[in-house]
Amino acid sequence: MGLIHDTKSNVLTTTVEAAVNWGRKNSLWPMPFGTACCGIELMAALASRSDIARFGAEAIRFSPRQSDLLVVAGRITIKMMPVLQRIYEQMPEPKWVISMGACASSGGVFDTYSVIQGIDQFIPVDVYVPGCPPRPEGLLDGLMKIQKLIEKETFSDYSKRK
């Protein structure tokens, strides 16, 4: 069509891996699973001051089928765990999981009969964000850690996915 006149200055060479990873890491679509107080800080991360859009992750999708980053923010109880597992399984690959806050990561202050002592016993977790609740900055840091993970993915990793 004659759009590219000058191949010398308009061509960028890269690997497929790098291009795909770059695209993925800057357009994460989070599925917020905010159950308790940490959910409020998750909202704060979305709102005006922290603005998660700077990291390309503002497209909150409440449907697991459309998202690739599960943010578990809050206590997960014995009644909730089957729901969480179901949602994790419904998300399409590739997918990443952030466990936000002490409760999701370890049960936090709630060492009681009904709180799961760490969701990583039952679903895989990629990044843990400490704090009770973590500040929005903490969540953003966790998001950047996920982006770093994505950067390192290789072609063979993709093909190994079922």
């Binding site: 917020p32 905010g34 959910g39 909202m43 704060a44 005006s48 109880t77 202050v109 709180v115 609740p133």
Partner: protein, 401 residues
């Protein structure tokens, strides 16, 4: 719409719809099973307990001051109100009178929390109905209030500010000017939100006449707080049973007429302004002095300077925090009701005279307000569900505990 007309002109089938628990409008943790005829709800059965984390069991294993941290996590829109309610009940049990300055600071914090709580609950209601901007406007101010909390308590959300016998610490220098600055903004933000919503046609259509609660039902179902006042019940514990020092301030109780979602929204908006009014009065009248009772009473920790600089202070400190020492409450029980942003929040504490409470029960406004949901949902449209849920402001942490 007249249901008979629908039935004739359009054949519909009964259908069961599962709503939640992971649904944006249920805020993660509520589940409603609705039976529908077309789009009309004929039966709605809420299922709760998805966030039941054993708060009350935990209360029997932590000592009186440790439990303050747990109360934060109950209503996370306004944790300070929970701190204060719990401290008041424990102090009534132990017959402690906190200094005036502490009482005033508690009121200031409670009212700031009320503003923050109402802002977020209105914001979420608006998001659920489809007006995202309101949430952003509200959250901007909420962030400023967070900053104040952070300056005073050290953290934004889980404040744990009260202690039995006073406060964790006094408010920092310059706090009052910070509050005054935020208060100036409250009116502006409230105006902004009202300009966006009050006369907005979509907003009116989706909230007026929706989820109407009658006065009788409000009393029978135990509804309290803005949801009850929107129906016309003239009941505000801050006036009727003034706890702390609420009787020294001058403010109006906001009462609605119709008891629908729109009135609940209006009541909340006006309460924001009234709270700002109370805060201003607190700032004007703020007394000086200590915020804790005398540490010789064995109820509060000695001042940190003593602990760090003198052996007596250190011993005193250890005497307080060692597992077999510290405060010994009398045998008895107490219940104090406070007006939290959602309604009557009370703590019922039973003590058997040991370091840990024998039983700590929270009177959860969210649970009791939510129980009317299945009643007012009947006959409504399916899209009313989100509006009603948002307007009842159900906080799962407090709902399930």
């Amino acid at each position: 719409m007249n249901p008979q007309v629908t039935a004739k002109s359009l054949e519909t089938e009964k259908m069961v719809l599962n709503f939640g628990p992971s649904h944006p409008a249920t805020h993660g943790t509520l589940r409603v099973i609705m039976e529908l005829d077309g789009e009309t709800v004929i039966k709605a059965t809420p299922e709760i307990g998805f966030l039941h984390s054993g708060f009350e069991k935990l209360g029997e294993h932590l000592d009186f001051n440790q439990y303050v941290t747990i109360t934060d996590r109950m209503n996370y829109l306004s944790p300070l109100c929970n701190n204060v309610a719990y401290a008041l009940s424990a102090e009534k049990l132990m017959n402690i009178d906190v200094p005036k300055r502490a009482r005033y600071i508690r009121i200031l914090m409670c009212e700031l929390s009320r503003i923050a709580d109402h802002l977020l609950s209105i914001g979420m209601l608006a998001v659920d109905i489809g007006a995202f901007t309101v949430f952003l406007y509200g959250f901007r101010l909420r962030e400023n209030i967070y900053d104040l909390f952070e300056a005073a308590t050290g953290t934004r959300l889980t404040t744990s500010y009260t202690r039995i016998g006073g406060l964790m610490r006094d408010i920092p220098e310059g706090f009052e000017t910070g509050v005054a600055k935020v208060l100036d903004e409250v009116g502006k933000v409230a105006d902004e939100i009202e300009t966006l919503l009050n006369r907005n046609r979509i907003w009116q259509k989706r909230t007026k006449g929706v989820g109407v609660i009658s006065k009788e039902n409000a009393n029978s179902y135990g509804i309290t707080g803005p949801a009850a006042r929107a129906t016309g019940v003239d009941w505000d514990l801050r006036i009727k049973e003034p706890y702390s020092d609420y009787d020294e301030f001058n403010f109006d109780v906001v009462i609605g007429v119709n008891g629908d979602v729109f009135d609940r929204y209006l009541v909340r908006m006006e309460e924001i302004r009234q709270s700002a009014k109370i805060c201003r009065q607190v700032l004007d009248k703020m007394p000086g002095g200590e915020v804790n009772i005398d540490s010789d009473s064995k109820f509060v920790l000695p001042p940190k300077e003593d602990v760090y600089n003198s052996i007596e202070g250190l011993i005193h400190h250890f005497e307080q925090i060692m597992p077999n020492r510290g405060m010994i409450p009398p045998k008895g029980e107490s219940y104090v009701a406070t007006e939290s942003p959602n309604g009557e929040l009370g703590y019922y504490i039973v003590s058997d005279g040991s370091r840990t409470p024998y039983r700590v029960r929270t009177r959860p406004p969210s649970l009791i307000n939510y129980s009317i949901f299945s009643k007012i949902m009947v006959g409504g449209m399916i899209s009313d569900a989100v509006a009603i849920l948002g307007s009842l402001n159900v906080i799962a942490g407090e709902l399930d505990r």
